[in-house]
Subunit: 393 residues, 4 copies
């Protein structure tokens, strides 16, 4: 075991250093300490528009250097991989440029703010792949061990043909009408609201677990609170509370019905107004031979119902996904010692680095990200037209 | 306390004696033993088409007499109230005739198989009311104490303005493709499948708890298994297994989005294919000030989140709805001694008898049942047209 | 099927008509309506010291007649079985006399207030058995379907050799120091407090489920509140609140360690001071091949862990004990339609009547009740001596 | 914010690099990245008996250097604090020497293998404190946010006077009789079995949360499997399975009753034979005004029952301990994004470093560790004598 210490280096440059930047930094730092990686991640440089903040982020998050222009980051020799943690409106430009510069790319979700951008990114990824440059989109929840186990059980046929998918992503952080505006509530930066921010996750997760794709949707978007107080940085004031208000230009909640390519029926709901639910990613899948259920608020557990069990002893079993046999678990602690949110990002780094070393495509690909983007667009379009919309292949 | 023993009699005639008939009989027998009723139910007569079976049912279920023709039952002087427990295709004819004969009516849900029938029934109920004859539709789940408590908390403003309604009725009894045909899978008898049989319940429950009405829907019906083995009575054979198959003419699952009159967004799912879920009536309602959650598979519990609680100690609380202060509970056992499925029917009798004695309209009314029928029809129509449908007022 | 209507009669006389009397009455009334009994229970007569109250109870609970002296009840020809629902201090006298009068006996738990009384009762039961007269003690929780299933799984070897038993009976109805005195808090009537009232249940349940007996104990009894306001009937006043206080002469809580005959280790706790727990009978049993867990506050569920399952998919499964294959369930409702507290009493009647018709001994026997009494006595004695006590065989 | 980058250094030397060493290393590395520490931890040197393994551990776990003799580590100038992660038999010697050498000490639990050792350590800590050198014992579970919140609520009087403590630490890793011997099953290295290894945690946790101390115990130790296969390293063979067996010299399970100084009654159970329970630290505390419940297998949740709430809406609330107002949570992720096992160690570092910078005593102190040791000894002694044992003050 080299524990990454003698393995070839993989130098990383990260763009953006907010919530996602912190999670990614922790992952790059932690992965080689618990997993025996074939490449040794080097945290070279972090990029942010404000120089002082970027330097501070470098110190705080553990990057050797900082930059203020992502274009300069792409020019650096000590960057083999660009990790994009900015809002969605900048993804396409940075990712395409990075791939063209021969840098591997890990891009946070959603892949882009529009289908058109996602198509350009996916095309760029295809082109880059031909010369050994890889691209991955950061749907990190795929690497929660319970989710990975769910995929494994479906793949092994344990629940049979999938009939029902029900998925909810429930938060409540803006249920209060006086919660201030943020970039996540502005369409030009965020692309959409609950739909793209959290709905994208449950689209990706259900397609990942089932191995199927959504083929048509009937959706409904809703904005419960149209106007909110400007945060201070918006109003240009400082030290004084703003009384100005700004328009919320994205959805607060998105609900949609879906059909899957192989016949399953789906029901989806993404909202920031589910009072009392904090990060409730709930997925239940019913198949002909069994069922699976997951709730991120109890993230170390996967529930599994095996319909082949005699009725006398059949029941949803609460699998504590911390056994050495479970995905990723052997690298961590003994059974029953649960993992947390950030571990999914660490596992994402592990899988990405492993794919790069083996010359394989990491998943989810930009094509996967594009497909999610198409579903998001179809939901929006369906909400406008009040009819079902097909997802183009 | 007269415990119904010296109270005036209320003579009951019941039509149908299968699953629902057993539940209703138990309720008529049990209500006066635990509740101090203003009228004393007398179980006069039960009606079934087959004379021997009807007589056996009378003995088994505790009715004094039996009939084979419901028209004769309407002519009897020892019948003040007609309790209709037959399949939906006969509801309209029996109920209208009974009301016209001056008998109070308790009619099992769904009120009817079509909107037209339900309209006739509702009109008959209106006419009867004018002469002091009452009609009630048997959405018994309203009287599960946890559900009644949910209504009480919404009414008291404890969850504020309702934003999200999510409701599922999950069963799995025909998930196996070899489960035989039954009248519940035939459109001419049952009207619809999962939609009308169990979807009707969650429509009524969510409207009851929120005090709001569904105003538009986008629905999708699905039949996963088109053909099933005939049960022996269908095939005309006896003592021999049938190899014949018959067509399933109703939906196996129904999903729909909904908007409510005052702006809430709803997501509904009713299915008989949710492997591992047996009678999973799950309702969650998110409001501006709090949330409520219920699951019939843990029916003595209501979960309540109070958003006015400080964040440090806020959380969904598991209210065991068995305290003397809780609906119906004082009549039964000490705290923590849970009730079962059939208690809801007993409570239905209690409320119905009380309304009759007080000369008030019991709820849910036939008008409520008609409105549910309109939602069911709109879901079907929406599934056909693949567009949203409005519910006429 | 005769549904008990043409079966030979079994005439019942019940002594006592409070909480337990109501539960037993419901059971005698309900059992023949759902189960096909070999004997037809006839609710002949109820006995209570106060004539007016007894007559009222007869009307309310459905008994044909009432008596004020249990000795007269024993003389009646229309009493084949005496059902004893009085406080524990009168059990021995009534039960022994009833058995000697040739009446079958169903006696509420705990069997008696002292080992000596229980020994006399057990001896009387042995003598009566010789002439075909049967005795049963009413540990009704054995007949909660999930509990019966637990016994069945242990008997089938599904959890292997039992190593750990942990059992709690948690209530909180006197956690408030101002809750008034009741006969349950007075040693001369109740024998003991939490220990005998509810601790007796978990002793019986764990011995029943495991098929093993407790062989030694180390116990500790505690009275948290020594003095309480007299209830009005105690103080002799009426219509005025009492300011007098009386002494609590029993334990508020009892905890004890135990060893079982075949080597398992047990931990027991019975309390009326577990704030927030209403009727929390929790039993967990860990064996070499699996584990079982039960909580009465979710009484339709049995949790089962099968250690022979591969680690990847092993987990406690939540068995909803409502399938036709489950104990007692086929007589009631479809899967997922849960039962309540009083169903256990109905099942007790079913099993008792069946045993009587078949000339077999019903369980639990008076000998079983005596053994529980010995454990209770050993716990008390151990609490006094602060050493372990053996249970005599 | 300096994020530890410009703060004065705190150089750490760690002894031992197995399971606990990995957890501590992660904590030292991670704490300054998420918390704004007043001292900057420097991971100077790790010590292990085998030079190659120690060097490998240094590389893998991120220590700058390695040593093979802990005495040399104490001599180094680049060690301000010694972090002891070895088995219990070496704690006393290393800790006392470190304190005498003027090094702060963080010592893993249990503090020692005997009361005598713990007394020496506590005396050494007292002496060191006088010259500003601090000692802390590593009961890390105190720093699980839900546990810290429990302490906070008790301290604020939210559950009132404590009446019941029930605590279980349930594991099953040696339930299989063929699981091999390890040092944890040998008395000379481990001191005791389940009692000291995991029982120590629930003793510390319940005393911490309640703010009370255990004053007397009645205990029972049990070894279910006396003999086990030697692991290969024991047998001296390599590459071949051993058929030799060795004696298990510690308890497999420990159960005990306890009284607390202020009158609460406790029931404790620690076992490695609770089939299906992996790391089930379950603590429930019932007080006069409320109750708390915690289960480490759902570690981000604290359950709280407030008895001052009206009965209608009272219930155990499931507090997801991830709000900014909750202990430690603001440094991590948004609400609902749960933490894992290792976070408790990171919080331990945060609190320790903060105490050191402020010149305050960190908790739990060596005196706290000594008191736990005395309870452990009393349980063992009680198990031998079969009588209650007092805990000396």
């Amino acid at each position: 075991m080299n524990h990454g210490t003698t393995a070839p280096a993989l130098s990383v440059g990260m763009v953006g250093h907010a919530f996602m930047g912190a999670a990614h930094s922790h992952a790059w730092r932690t992965a080689p300490r618990f997993f025996d990686l074939p490449l040794r991640p080097v945290m070279s440089v972090v990029c942010g528009r404000d120089g002082a903040r970027a330097a501070d982020a470098a110190a705080r998050l553990g990057w050797a250097d900082s930059e203020t222009d992502w274009r300069r980051l792409l020019e650096r020799d000590d960057v083999d991989l660009v990790d994009i943690c900015t809002p969605g409106d900048s993804h396409a430009e940075i990712a395409v440029a990075a791939l063209e510069a021969g840098k591997h790319v890990l891009c946070e979700k959603p892949l882009a703010n529009t289908v058109e951008e996602a198509e350009r990114m996916s095309a760029a990824a295809d082109k880059a792949r031909a010369v050994g440059v890889r691209a991955m989109v950061g749907f990190a929840y795929r690497r929660v061990p319970a989710v990975t186990l769910a995929r494994r059980l479906v793949e092994a046929g344990r629940i049979g043909e999938v009939r029902h998918v029900r998925a909810q992503y429930l938060q409540d952080w803006i249920a209060d009408p006086e919660a201030p505006l943020s970039w996540r509530l502005e369409k030009d930066k965020a692309g959409s609201g609950a739909l793209g921010d959290i709905g994208a996750h449950i689209i990706d997760l259900t397609q990942f677990i089932t191995g199927e794709r959504i083929s048509s949707v009937s959706g409904h978007l809703r904005t419960f609170v149209d106007e909110r107080p400007l945060a201070l940085e918006h109003s240009g004031l400082s030290g004084t509370a703003s009384t100005e208000r700004g328009a919320v230009t994205v959805d607060d909640a998105a609900v949609f019905l879906a059909t899957f390519t192989t016949g399953a029926v789906g029901v989806f709901e993404a909202t920031r107004f589910a009072t009392g639910r904090k990060n409730g990613i709930r997925i239940e899948i019913n198949g002909a031979r069994g069922s699976l259920a997951f709730d991120f608020e109890d993230m170390n557990v996967l529930e599994f119902y095996d319909a082949e069990e005699p009725a006398e002893t059949a029941g949803f079993r609460r699998i504590l996904v911390t056994e050495a046999d479970h995905p990723y678990a052997a690298a961590w602690w003994p059974p029953g010692h649960g993992l947390g949110y950030e571990h999914a990002f660490t596992h994402q780094v592990v899988d990405l680095v492993t794919s790069l070393a083996q010359g394989e495509d990491p998943h989810p690909s930009f094509a996967d990200g594009l497909q999610v983007q198409r579903v998001l667009a179809a939901v929006e379009s369906s909400s406008d037209s009040r009819t079902w919309q097909e997802i183009s292949a």
